[in-house]
């Protein structure tokens, strides 16, 4: 637990010295800002689904970009050798890294609260659906980070890690749409595993327990795979 915190904190501070994190964060804020401006100008609505909807794809990219270096970079620089020879569990390494990246993602998501705050100045937004939308964004973010972190354990090349996690993320996202071309039963089953299935419920203001469980399960599953993959690298 203590080790997890040490690793998470180290990861979080290292983002502050990384130009990559600033660029990625700025792009995320700029894009969600554009979606926000567009949706509130077009529909003059006071709901957040207008930017949280398309914001989800940006979030997937953000997840891949923030996590690509977490293990890959340490492997490339050789610092993984010191990390993995310290009396620290592989699970503490993975969870610490995950929490570090989640810290930054949470901060970035928090910055977009600026948009609903604007809405509350010029209108009277309904905070219930907004909270639900943000919960959805956060949960999707957790899943994206854990998938990205898993990809980062597979290679010492950050770009490869980003491509792999981007691939998994978009496959899991669009498999829902693809499922509609499949026979009904199969299609429904496949759709059940899609990252995009529960997301619209959240942005339209519903908190579906199955959605919460689904995103948390995906997160736990990929953290587990990340731990296993890190363990495996000792046997290479």
């Amino acid at each position: 637990m203590k080790n997890t915190g040490t690793i998470a904190l180290r990861e979080l501070t290292s983002y502050t010295t990384s130009p990559m994190a600033y660029v990625v964060g700025a792009v995320f804020l700029a894009l969600t800002g554009i979606f926000f401006g567009y949706s509130s100008a077009t529909y003059s609505s006071t709901s957040v689904s207008g930017y949280l909807g398309p914001g989800s794809l940006v979030l997937l990219l953000l997840g891949a970009m923030l996590t690509m270096r977490l293990i890959a970079e340490e492997r490339k620089m050789g610092t993984l050798e010191l990390l993995l020879t310290a009396p620290v569990r592989d699970s503490e390494v993975i969870i610490g890294k995950f929490l570090g990246s989640l810290g930054l993602l949470t901060a970035l998501i928090a910055l977009t609260l600026y948009y609903p705050l604007l809405l509350s100045i010029f209108g009277d937004p309904d905070w219930g659906p907004i909270s639900a939308g943000y919960l959805g964004l956060f949960l999707l973010g957790c899943a994206a980070l854990s998938i990205g972190l898993f990809a980062s354990t597979l290679t010492s090349n950050q770009i490869v890690a980003a491509v792999v996690s981007g691939g998994i993320l978009f496959a899991l996202w669009f498999v829902g749409q693809a499922a509609s071309f499949l026979p009904k039963d199969l299609g429904n089953t496949v759709a059940y595993f899609s990252l995009s299935k529960y997301y619209p419920d959240f942005t339209s203001g519903m908190i579906d327990t199955r959605g919460v469980v689904y995103y948390l399960s995906v997160t736990v599953l990929f953290l587990f795979l990340g731990i296993r993959s890190l363990e495996n690298s000792r046997w290479n």
Binding site: L82, T85, A86, P87
Partner: protein, 309 residues
Amino acid sequence: MIKVENVTKYYGKRLAVDNISFSVKKGEIVGFVGPNGAGKTTTMRMLTGFLAPNDGEVEIAGHDMLRHSLEARRYVGYLPESIPLYTDITVRSYLEFAARLRGLEPARVKDRIDAVVSLCHLEEYVDSIIGKLSKGFRQRVGVAQAIIHEPQVLILDEPTIGIDPLQVAMTRQLIRDLGKDRTILFSTHILTEVSTVCERVIVMHQGKIVAQDRIEKLATILQGGRRLRIEISGPAEQVASRLRKVDGVTQVSTKGSRHVVECSGAQDPRAAIMQAMVESGWTVLSLEALAMSLEDVFLKLIARQEAKQ
């Protein structure tokens, strides 16, 4: 403190460490010698738990590195070969991170940082970003992080490579000092280094241990210098055959008036050679001791090993 039993490691199909066994007792300083590619780094990675052996057992302070890895790792301080460090933070933040990760109680972190910083002469640089330091100073940071938690076992992979002579001397002194109350295994491919620092040597070649003995026993071989080049005015054939008869001379190769003489045994045969030449009425024009190359020494050790078996 360190026990290695029948350990084998493959990288894919490539055999890097071939069924080696050795142990290091508490308080010993042991040199781990071998040419590049011998398998030193791979062995050390298994001792520190970074790599798992394909076969065999590694034990640190009585704890099995596979089954009780965390326990075993607590005893170890490690300086990897390439001195990998986070380059984006200051020496102080790095040492703090290392101290916490290695399990030092938070209350002692500050004192220990001060202690290792002064021990490794890093005072002026403790607030510098590691990425801006020269190789020599990074090496000091590497040593500092290895000893920050006062480990009982220190594993140093080529700690004196790529740094200036003054610092090499400093590092050797540090190893000697640290070795007074802890167990140290350090690797090197500089043979003379081991004789100045350690009590015992383990020699590795192509994944196998070809010799392990106390330094005095291997000293004559390891220090080299038992090959002489002599220039003698006299009939080359006769000179060579007379040289072969001198006590301790094992082999003579002749080129013109120059003879390269290989000697064995502990005593210095130079006086005997001089005398033999004088008695035969030939003049010794020059005599110099040739340092043996690393390869020669390894070849000798391997030959010795094969003769034993």
